[in-house]
């Protein structure tokens, strides 16, 4: 990515000394990474390297054993997904965390339903908002009142992305957002990531596709066996360098 990102100020988000163990296994071991506004940081590593666990601690899905989270320099207290939402941290999961039996609007607003003055859920208002936001992202989407089980992978993913956009995400965690998608839909997501960057949103992107990482990310933080191997600016290293970090846990000489 050609854009130069100003990293002199306070980072949008800082994860300091994050650790999490499952039984005797240190899934995440003293990892420190940061993210600036308008930046995409790839979080890379083998399966089981700890990248998903690290992101789940940020999104509140998993409690952390130790470590601190700073948002705009302020210490943030994130213990569950509700806390994360308060800090405008939105997550788009690999396995499309949608309730299959509900329609697009119910999923988009799940946990944050619009209600009528008497406190009942306002389905009509939610569907209207869903039509607006999804009309912007995927203009030919029409299946608003059928369960999302009947939608294609791309359509389902666009529901998840719409949710993040609608609720003004400042920090977006994308866990292999294109894993379940076709070529065209992947391109759509890539476009969208660019769009979100321009709005100053910081994005953590978990991905296995090195090529995609080179294309989409500004920096890459590589993990191996729960530890941080290092963080590099992707334009200053080769694909082989990154592969070396992932496979061998070896940090390239000239890394940033």
């Amino acid at each position: 990515m050609a854009d130069v990102i100003d990293r002199s100020g306070t980072p949008l988000i800082e994860l300091r000394n994050m650790s999490k163990a499952f039984g005797g296994i240190r899934a995440v071991d003293d990892v420190t990474i940061d993210l600036f506004g308008g930046e995409v940081v790839g979080v890379l590593g083998h399966n089981g390297a700890g990248k998903s666990v690290l992101m789940k601690m940020l999104s509140g899905a998993l409690p952390r054993d130790s470590g601190e989270i700073y948002i705009n320099g302020q210490k943030a207290d994130i213990n569950n997904p509700r806390d994360a939402r308060k800090y405008n941290i939105e997550t788009i999961y690999q396995y499309l965390a949608l309730a299959d039996n509900l329609d697009a609007a119910s999923n988009l607003f799940l946990g944050r339903e619009l209600t009528t003055p008497v406190g009942l859920v306002d389905d009509a208002a939610m569907e209207a908002e869903t039509r607006k936001i999804m009309g912007r992202l995927t203009p030919n989407f029409r299946r608003f009142s059928t369960p999302v089980a009947g939608l294609s992978g791309g359509q389902r993913q666009s529901v998840a992305i719409s949710r993040a956009v609608y609720f003004n995400a400042k920090i977006l965690i994308m866990d292999e957002p294109t894993a379940a998608l076709g070529v065209e839909e992947t391109a759509m997501v890539a476009e969208l990531i660019d769009e979100l960057k321009k709005q100053g949103i910081g994005i953590f992107l978990i991905d296995h596709d090195i090529h995609q990482v080179k294309n989409l990310c500004d920096r890459a933080s590589v993990m191996k066996n729960g530890k941080l191997v290092g963080t590099v600016e992707v334009d200053k290293v080769s694909e082989d360098d990154i592969l070396g970090m992932i496979i061998l846990g070896k940090k390239p000489e000239m890394a940033a």
């Binding site: 997904p81 309730a99 299959d100 509900l102 799940l110 009942l120 859920v121 029409r142 059928t146 294609s152």
Partner: protein, 433 residues
């Protein structure tokens, strides 16, 4: 579910739709109603017209109430991928608590004389609290201690049946308070005029509901069904409600009983006076439960979360839903409903007995499942469960009227349960929902 859905816009032009699609009637509901009607007609034929008499329909409705009330709660339990095997036993414990309140606590501890007006409300309060507390306890074991619901409620099945036995010392407790008995069915009805008033109010609410739903859609420029389709649906609703009232009103109170009622009020019955029973209070309770539970399921956050959790527990949790307390709430709802059923069931038999509610857990689960609740979670409707309970009860009492022996009745009910679920699976495969 294939990818071609990407391209098909799901709003084909209206003219292509067939009649049912234009009316936007749930075909699944239609199938169940159809099966129920066929069932009634067959029994009516086999019993030489005795099945579809006002008297039998009246009895059928009051026999269905207890199981139907609990079945609405079972829908929530099964939708959240749990099961409750303890509802029959829980009903017995609630019933025992209420019976002991009436026969021991009220007269001996509180000093209320027999027939005192506060006895019924106090004992009902005791029953409801019992149900809520036990339900919450089950929910806590399932939600917070993560013991499988099957095990918790299997334990509950043994425990609460015998807590009930312990409370009463194994005795049958009765007769219950007169006011309390009026919730049982035949001993408490709205009467002809009251039933018509209720029917008219119900019609007004239903029509207003249809109208405001359409207006909400128009306000957001959503597609609406044609006006004639709305009118047809409105007509069906009106006929169904008023027809039901008319049938229950047509069941006349026997002359001897009427005379006694007049005597009790110190009046003399006019010669040739007749009147119908009308809607029993117990059926009224079921209607209220059905409306409230449907509202909870479709129009509240709680209901939305219950179904979201059933569809994808992980997604629900990641969306910030407090899933553990959600489970507690679901079991509390079942607890309340068991207590309400306990009121109806014990009032109907006018006393509390040890075996009250025995095997109800299986009838309740069967009703919910026949009504289209999927054991895999996330799918189910309140009206389906009530219709399921009604179908089960019709089958049972219809066979009894025809003269089928009890063991054979149960064989048929068992087969119907399995068959109904199989048909439902086929239906879902065909419609892809």
């Amino acid at each position: 579910m294939a990818d071609n859905s990407t391209n098909t816009l799901n709003e084909p032009t209206r003219t292509q739709k067939n009649l049912l699609a234009q009316l936007e009637i749930d075909t699944r509901l239609l199938g169940m109603v159809g099966a129920f009607v066929v069932l009634c007609l067959v029994f009516n034929f086999l019993t030489d017209g005795r099945f579809l008499t006002p008297r039998n329909i009246f009895n059928l409705t009051i026999q269905t109430v207890s199981v139907a009330i609990m079945a609405t709660g079972m829908v929530f339990v099964i939708v959240t991928r749990n099961i409750d095997l303890s509802v029959g036993s829980l009903l017995a414990t609630c019933s025992a608590m209420m019976a002991m309140t009436q026969t021991l606590v009220a007269p001996q501890w509180l000093g209320l004389e027999l027939g005192h007006g506060m006895i019924a409300p106090i004992s009902i309060g005791v029953g409801l609290v019992t149900g809520i507390v036990i339900g919450a306890f089950h929910g806590w074991l399932v939600g917070y201690l993560t013991i499988p619901a099957f095990i918790v409620t299997l334990g509950g099945l043994f425990v609460w049946r015998n807590v009930a036995w312990h409370l009463t010392g194994g005795q049958t407790i009765g007769p219950l308070d007169q006011n309390f008995q009026s919730f049982g069915g035949i001993n408490g009805t709205l009467g002809v005029t009251g039933s018509w008033i209720f029917g008219v109010i119900a019609v007004a609410f239903a029509l207003y509901g249809l109208y405001s739903a359409r207006r909400a859609k128009l306000r957001h420029d959503f597609p609406v069904k044609p006006v004639w389709a709305e009118l047809v649906i409105a007509a069906i609703v009106v006929v169904a409600i008023l027809g039901f009232v008319a049938i229950l009103n047509a069941y006349e109170i026997p002359t001897r009983r009427l005379q006694r009622m007049f005597e009790a009020r110190g009046e003399v019955m006019p010669e040739g006076f007749t009147t119908g029973y009308g809607i029993p209070y117990s059926v009224l309770i079921l209607i209220v439960v059905a409306v409230v539970m449907t509202l909870v399921a479709q129009k509240t956050r709680l209901g939305r979360y219950i179904f979201a959790f059933g569809g994808n527990p992980e997604a629900a949790q990641l969306s910030g839903i407090r899933t553990r307390s959600l489970i507690v709430k679901v079991f509390m709802i079942v607890g309340i409903l068991c207590a309400i059923s306990a009121i109806v069931a014990s009032a109907r038999q006018t006393f509390h007995s040890n075996d009250i509610g025995t095997l109800d857990e299986l009838r309740v689960i069967a009703a919910a499942v026949i009504g289209g609740t999927a054991l895999s979670g996330g799918l189910g409707t309140i009206y389906g469960a009530i219709l399921g309970a009604l179908i089960m009860q019709s089958l049972q009492s219809g066979m009894a009227m025809v003269g089928v022996d009890a063991p054979y009745q149960n064989i048929v009910v068992g087969i119907v349960l399995v068959l109904a679920v199989y048909i439902d699976i086929l239906y879902r495969k065909r419609t892809g929902s």
